[in-house]
């Protein structure tokens, strides 16, 4: 395997997530929303079985649970965290402004030294956009050794019927916290590429349904290819592809386009978790069999408003 082109600036040292205990299957969801059974059947045919339901309870509470689990699991000292970035897809996945959600999580978690803010409007790619922001600040010599990015989203009251992305996914409520550390420890980030197709900035149509993207496959492929090139890798050299939980049939096509053997697509969480907004690829990194030291995996997200992001990590 050729060596990655660049030494990593940041490593993804830890992942923890929090999902509400209640799960809802596709048939129950279709029934309670008044959709025909055929809608549930179509979802099931595309590998979508269920989602986690917070019943419109707070995404901020889920974020705190995820950060708390991350700190505990990694043994990270709270005073050693230099930055905390809160991200979300749904703009209302925060406490009512001008109340400060990032400040609240910072305070509740005792991250007193952290620079706390949010990165948003990249929707499900916002966690990767936050990592990019951290990378810029780190390269510039800002005093950031260790940072936490947390993404959290909950479908709001009255929005249950909007959970589906066509028949390709069901949004799942949840939060995921990432520990980023300066330098190239295990899971060094050796490729990170984002792309935004400006045509879709509105995100949804008048009926609040996602606007179909006629260039989805090309944009997704080109974004992943760019991240692989940064890492100096060919698709065939990847240990795993860690996808977002949207459009499982389409992933087969993307794997072919990337020249990655189909069995390297990690799908164990696709049906059982649902699409946890920006958290999917990171949850997959956490639960997938650990790659051999030196091997690489590719993480991918895309979101409403034409957002695409891909990241390559070296185990």
């Amino acid at each position: 395997m050729p060596a990655p082109a660049h030494d990593p600036v940041l490593s993804l040292s830890g992942v923890a997530f929090s999902l509400p205990a209640q799960t809802v299957d596709a048939h129950t969801w279709a029934r309670r929303c008044g959709f025909p059974e055929a809608r549930a059947s179509a979802l099931l045919e595309n590998g979508v079985q269920r989602f986690h339901d917070a019943v419109a309870n707070s995404p901020v509470a889920l974020a705190c649970e995820a950060v708390s689990a991350l700190l505990e699991r990694t043994g990270t000292s709270r005073v050693s965290v230099d930055a905390l970035i809160y991200t979300h897809t749904i703009q209302s996945s925060v406490m009512a402004p001008p109340a400060g959600t990032a400040a609240f999580v910072q305070s509740r978690m005792g991250l007193d030294r952290a620079l706390a803010f949010s990165v948003m409007q990249q929707n499900c790619v916002s966690p990767m956009a936050a990592i990019r922001v951290l990378r810029v600040l780190t390269i510039a010599g800002r005093p950031i050794q260790r940072a936490i990015v947390v993404c959290a989203d909950v479908m709001g009251s009255g929005c249950d019927h909007l959970r589906a992305i066509q028949d390709l996914a069901l949004h799942s409520d949840g939060a995921c916290a990432l520990l980023l550390e300066r330098g190239g420890g295990h899971n060094g980030i050796v490729g990170l590429h984002l792309y935004t197709d400006g045509r879709y900035f509105r995100g949804t149509d008048d009926d609040l349904q996602p606007i179909p993207d006629d260039r989805y496959y090309w944009s997704a492929f080109a974004t992943m290819r760019a991240a692989l090139r940064q890492a100096g890798l060919r698709g065939s050299e990847l240990a795993h592809v860690l996808p977002h939980h949207v459009n499982l049939p389409g992933w087969s096509r993307l794997m072919t386009m990337l020249s990655v053997p189909q069995e390297r697509l990690y799908t164990a969480n696709f049906s059982r978790l649902g699409h946890v907004f920006g958290a999917d690829p990171f949850i997959n990194l956490h639960t997938a069999p650990r790659g051999q030291p030196g091997s690489c995996s590719l993480l991918f997200s895309s979101g409403l408003a034409g957002c695409f992001g891909a990241m390559v990590i070296r185990h």
């Binding site: 995404p59 400060g100 959600t101 952290a114 803010f117 409007q121 709001g156």
Partner: protein
């Protein structure tokens, strides 16, 4: 939409809505008396207008789009899935991936400025970035922030370029978000931290506070602006604080607006300096110093 907004209100911990923590005297009489209310335009409509106007006024004949767009906002876009940063990216034809900073309120612009400076330092292909701040407050969200201030609607933008010619150079920017002992959404302004951050920015720029030509505080509360500027030993007689009571506090758009109005009304000479400082509503503190280079 209303049900979603109500969720966000429900998610806030129980708190006295009038509670404001700060270390000085009551400021009720120093609050804005009126606030600007936009009844027609969306937040991103206002952002789009100021972004296009800023690009139209940009010096140079080539009229190239900015390499990067960064939006600063606290309030919600009424179109819940719309990305304001994505809209500006689309309309202006910028090349970099657009995004927004939030949760810093008045300090947002300063983090964006720091980010842009770092991006330009790291990437010589990046020549320009547009920072846009916009706010629009809709029911059920209150415009009243305790006894501290009242929130107005508005937008402003600044084009930051890598240029050699005449213009304002960014000397230093600092943003700090001190942790609070109690998790509470109460409004909190930490004056000692603000004074510290202002002092740190002056020191990093090798400047004494008295060497500042214009002091630009947030237009949040007259007493607070005077107290902090005085405590930081800034020359308060050089404070830029026009008509403080007529538009309200523009939060993430405030510093950009203040800077825009100031630059419209002065004719700087070589070496003159502007110091801007800002507070968030959860004790965030920020400061930047710009210096005019006439040649």
């Amino acid at each position: 939409m209303r049900s979603v907004y109500d969720d966000t209100l429900r998610w806030r911990p129980e708190v006295d809505p009038g509670s404001v923590h700060h270390s000085a005297s009551p400021r009720g009489t120093a609050m804005p008396e009126y606030v600007a209310c936009e009844s027609r335009l969306l937040l991103s409509d206002m952002a789009s207008m100021v972004a296009k106007e800023t690009m139209r006024r940009a010096p140079g004949k080539d009229n190239l789009p900015p390499d990067q767009v960064i939006v600063c906002a606290t309030s919600f876009e009424d179109d819940l899935a719309l990305s304001c940063a994505g809209r500006l990216h689309s309309e202006l034809g910028s090349t970099g991936v657009p995004f927004a900073f939030g949760q810093l309120q008045g300090a947002s612009f300063f983090l964006a400025l720091q980010m842009v400076s770092d991006m330009m330092a790291n990437d010589e292909r990046m020549h320009s970035a547009l920072i846009v701040g916009a706010e629009r407050w809709l029911p059920p969200f209150s415009r009243q922030v305790g006894a501290l201030t009242a929130l107005g609607d508005g937008a402003a933008a600044a084009l930051v370029t890598r240029q050699v010619g005449p213009g304002w150079r960014v000397l230093n920017v600092n943003v700090r978000t001190p942790g609070r002992p109690m998790p509470s959404p109460d409004v909190c302004v930490d004056e000692p931290v603000l004074v510290e951050v202002i002092g740190q920015t002056c020191t990093q720029s090798a400047l004494k506070p008295t060497e500042i030509s214009w002091v630009v505080p947030p237009r949040i509360n007259t007493t607070l602006a005077c107290d902090v500027s005085a405590d930081a030993r800034l020359p308060v007689w050089r404070m830029w604080y026009p008509e403080p009571r007529d538009i309200g506090y523009l939060c993430a758009a405030d510093a950009l607006t203040q800077l825009h109005v100031l630059l419209q009304s002065i004719a700087p000479t070589d070496g003159q300096r502007i110091l801007l400082w800002a507070t968030g509503l959860q004790a965030q503190a920020a400061c930047a110093i710009l210096q005019y280079c006439g040649s």
